[in-house]
């Protein structure tokens, strides 16, 4: 460990390791509640009859439906616990996210989300010495196809 660095050897050892695998079903009602919460009336996300007659054949999940980082807080809690155990700073901010939508996700799909740490960096910011962790989550559907990749940035200081 470099002198004064926030990135401990334990943190470095977490890079590339599979921290969590989660399987969940995309439910029609969950999609509708999600679209309603955004205030998005698009029939592709709200009306199963309409959506079933489109090329998608089923109610589609709006972009980002799969949540941060994956549905529910369980993955996030596990992830933060792993980072803390490895000596990461205690104060946390959500730095943002990037999604790559590979294939449509819709009602009835069963997704497997795999979470790993892709990168850990640090630099001096207005918050002081600050650590940036890039978390990569890959979603694979029931056919074995990658449907979504996402990269979330966790800021710790």
């Amino acid at each position: 460990m470099a002198d004064g660095s926030l990135i401990t050897d334990a943190l470095r050892n977490l890079i590339g390791v599979n921290l969590d695998t989660m399987v969940f079903k995309v439910e029609e009602g969950a999609i509708q509640r999600y679209a309603e919460a955004i205030g998005d009336p698009n029939p592709l996300f709200n009306d199963p009859d309409f959506a079933s007659k489109t090329k998608y054949g089923r109610l589609l999940a709006p972009p980002g439906f799969t949540g941060w980082p994956a549905k529910g807080e369980r993955t996030l809690e596990k992830l933060v616990a792993s980072l803390m155990k490895a000596g990461a700073p205690a104060r946390i901010l959500d730095g943002g996210v990037e999604f790559e939508f590979v294939e449509p996700i819709g009602a009835g799909d069963v997704l497997t989300a795999t979470t790993k740490i892709a990168k850990v960096a640090e630099r001096e910011t207005s918050l002081g010495k600050t650590m940036f962790t890039t978390v990569e989550i890959t979603f694979v559907n029931q056919k074995g196809n990658v449907v979504l990749r996402s990269w979330a940035t966790i800021i710790q200081f």
Binding site: A37, I38, P62, G67, G72, E73
Partner: protein
């Protein structure tokens, strides 16, 4: 449904049709339930004060979802959203509720964007956009970017 926008309809600098949003305390509760994010930072006054943000703040992921709405509305049923990213730069505070359904007077947020690049690659007609959520003062609290594929040609 608005007419389908196509690759020949847009140029670098073309504005994405803006989308207005009003965050309310009610909406934040609804979002918490729909998204599964039950962090008290978004609904508990005392908790929000204790962590130093003053009052409950709008979920970053809700603002991200608004940007998704902005893009899927703009590209229509034939467009494909390929990438979306955003950063949570500034905090936003929801309006309180006046009645069960009606918010108090206050801020309106606008989701906006513009085309920064267009190119063809791998048989697709791709368009890069700069997008953001701006608050009532016109500050970009949630800047981001998107990559979409549009149908070739001109919209009818």
């Amino acid at each position: 449904m608005a007419k389908q926008i196509c690759y020949q309809d847009i140029e670098v600098g073309t504005e994405i049709t803006p989308l207005a949003k009003i965050a309310t305390t009610r909406m934040l509760v609804q979002w918490a339930g729909a998204s599964g994010d039950f962090n008290p930072l978004h609904y508990d006054d005392d908790f929000a004060k204790a962590v130093g943000v003053g009052a409950p703040i709008v979920h970053g992921a809700l603002k991200r979802a608004w940007l998704g709405h902005l893009m899927t509305d703009w590209i229509g049923d034939e467009g494909k959203l390929k990438k979306l990213s955003c950063r949570y730069r500034g905090m936003d505070y929801p309006r309180k509720m006046k009645t069960m359904e009606e918010p108090c007077d206050g801020e309106t947020w606008w989701c906006k964007g513009k085309v920064t690049k267009k190119y063809e690659e791998g048989g697709e007609h791709l368009v890069e956009c700069e997008i953001w959520v701006e608050n009532g003062k016109g500050e970009k609290t949630t800047p981001g970017s998107a990559l979409v594929a549009l149908p070739a040609g001109k919209g009818k």
